[in-house]
């Protein structure tokens, strides 16, 4: 075994360039960029977005593509099967189902998005205030919410209909009255959990007031669960609209909606199944799209799941 000669030089510390080691490795990404990167990996959720964009586009322009009007009767050609004249066929009054489907999409999506949006606004404000202040404030605010959520939804709709008459806004308001509570509960839970975080205390020690702490620090940190709940609220609202219209409590004539169409088609379902198929298919497609997007968002926005 040969003996190795060690000199002082071998014990010299390696040269470390501090300027070099302080350089940031990799691009810095914001929270949302990072979330989008993770979201993009989820092919199913991306498909959901594409489907939704398509539905949105068709809702905006689809009714005009076929050149038929959704409310024009053509009594010479009722209950037609899908053909080159009427792409999705016609219903029992000879109205073009293609045009009606997309006019219905417009109304269904409008109701779904508006109701979800109003839920979001009221839910965030109510839940954040309740969760942040806690104690007596929380107690009273949440009991009010509990009372509202214990009201049967159908009863609210029927009562509102007596007061306001049948219409889109009646449905939206009825949905919001009972619907925002879910959002408020989620925001409240999140805020309660986050308000004891150190960065809230740190910001408070810099002199930040209540409203700043709430809406600059706490609410942005609850956005993940809020967005996920939102994407699940929209299909729920759309489904509720379809359900109400199906019962005859929803969108009034002559407007169409997917619920109205399924309701009308059900009577002749055994003879003309395509009349039921199209609206039912698009209800399912929309619900599915929103659900997979919500699922993708939940994975993408969870900061604990970062890779």
């Amino acid at each position: 075994m040969s003996q190795q000669q060690l000199t002082n030089v071998d014990f010299e510390p390696l040269h470390i360039d501090h300027a070099e080691s302080e350089k940031i490795v990799g691009k810095s990404t914001s929270y949302w960029k990072d979330a989008w990167r993770r979201f993009r990996k989820n092919k199913l959720a991306l498909t959901g977005i594409v489907v939704l964009l398509f539905l949105g586009f068709m809702a905006a322009f689809g009714a005009d593509i076929s050149g038929e009007n959704f409310r024009d009767n053509d009594l010479m050609s009722t209950n037609q099967a899908p053909s080159s004249d009427h792409w999705f066929g016609t219903d029992n009054l000879g109205r073009d189902i293609f045009a009606r489907t997309w006019d219905g999409a417009r109304i269904s999506l409008f109701i779904g998005l508006t109701a979800a949006f109003l839920d979001l606004i009221i839910g965030i404000i109510w839940g954040a205030i309740s969760g942040y202040f806690g104690g007596k404030v929380d107690e009273y605010m949440m009991r009010i919410a509990d009372i509202l959520s214990s009201l049967p939804y159908l009863l609210v709709v029927i009562l509102l209909m007596v007061v306001m008459g049948q219409g889109i806004w009646t449905m939206i308001i009825a949905m919001v009255i009972t619907g925002w509570i879910n959002m408020a509960r989620i925001v409240r839970g999140q805020v309660m959990q986050l308000r004891s975080e150190e960065y809230v205390l740190a910001s408070k020690s810099l002199g930040a007031g209540n409203s700043r702490l709430l809406f600059k620090h706490l609410v942005p940190n609850t956005l993940g669960p809020i967005l996920v709940t939102l994407t699940l609220t929209v299909p729920n609202a759309i489904f509720t609209e379809a359900f109400l219209s199906f019962l005859g409590l929803g969108v009034p004539m002559p407007d169409s909606s997917w619920g109205v169409m399924t309701s009308e088609a059900l009577g002749s379902f055994q003879y003309f199944p395509y009349q039921l198929f199209f609206p039912a298919f698009f209800i399912c497609l929309t619900m599915l799209a929103f659900n997979v997007i919500g699922d993708g968002l939940r994975d993408a926005l969870d900061p604990k799941d970062r890779k």
């Binding site: 914001s30 929270y31 104690g135 975080e197 150190e198 960065y199 205390l201 740190a202 910001s203 408070k204 020690s205 810099l206 002199g207 930040a208 007031g209 600059k216 620090h217 942005p220 940190n221 956005l223 900061p303």
Partner: protein, 136 residues
């Protein structure tokens, strides 16, 4: 030397379901201008509660001041309203927290968090860049 901060016979307690927890008992100290004061002690001996009491950052309830005064610039901080405290925190008295991982908001940029206090207290413009100066 001018006396800046004077804590006199400070006692802070927390009401718990079992009983009253006396976190700080009869603490007194003075802090003068150009002086550095370090408080050293075992964990749980009440250092943080003392420091947070000065900033009035103790959640009340369950916390409460049992006795004592915190005289800062000849004014008793215990008597101040929450609004008055907001203009003292971060302007007259600052605080540096222990754990950088949890003391920073994950959804806000560092730049925003650093300038948060300055924008609040010095009426600085959000659009203009802020140049920090300090002397040792």
């Amino acid at each position: 030397m001018k006396k800046i901060l004077s804590v006199q016979n400070l006692s802070v307690s927390f009401d718990t379901y079992k009983s009253e927890v006396k976190a700080v008992r009869d603490v007194s100290f003075d802090l003068h201008e150009r002086e550095t004061l370090a408080i050293v002690g075992e964990s749980g001996s009440g250092k943080s509660v003392t420091a947070q009491s000065i900033m009035r950052l103790i959640p009340m309830p369950p916390g409460k001041f049992v006795s004592g005064n915190i005289i800062f610039n000849e004014e008793d901080l215990i008597q101040k309203s929450e609004k008055q405290m907001e203009s003292i925190r971060g302007k007259e008295i600052g605080m540096i927290f222990q754990d950088p991982m949890t003391s920073l908001n994950p959804t806000m940029t560092i730049g925003k968090q650093i300038t948060e206090g300055l924008i609040k207290h010095q009426n600085m413009n959000k659009k203009k860049p802020i140049y920090l100066e300090w002397s040792c």
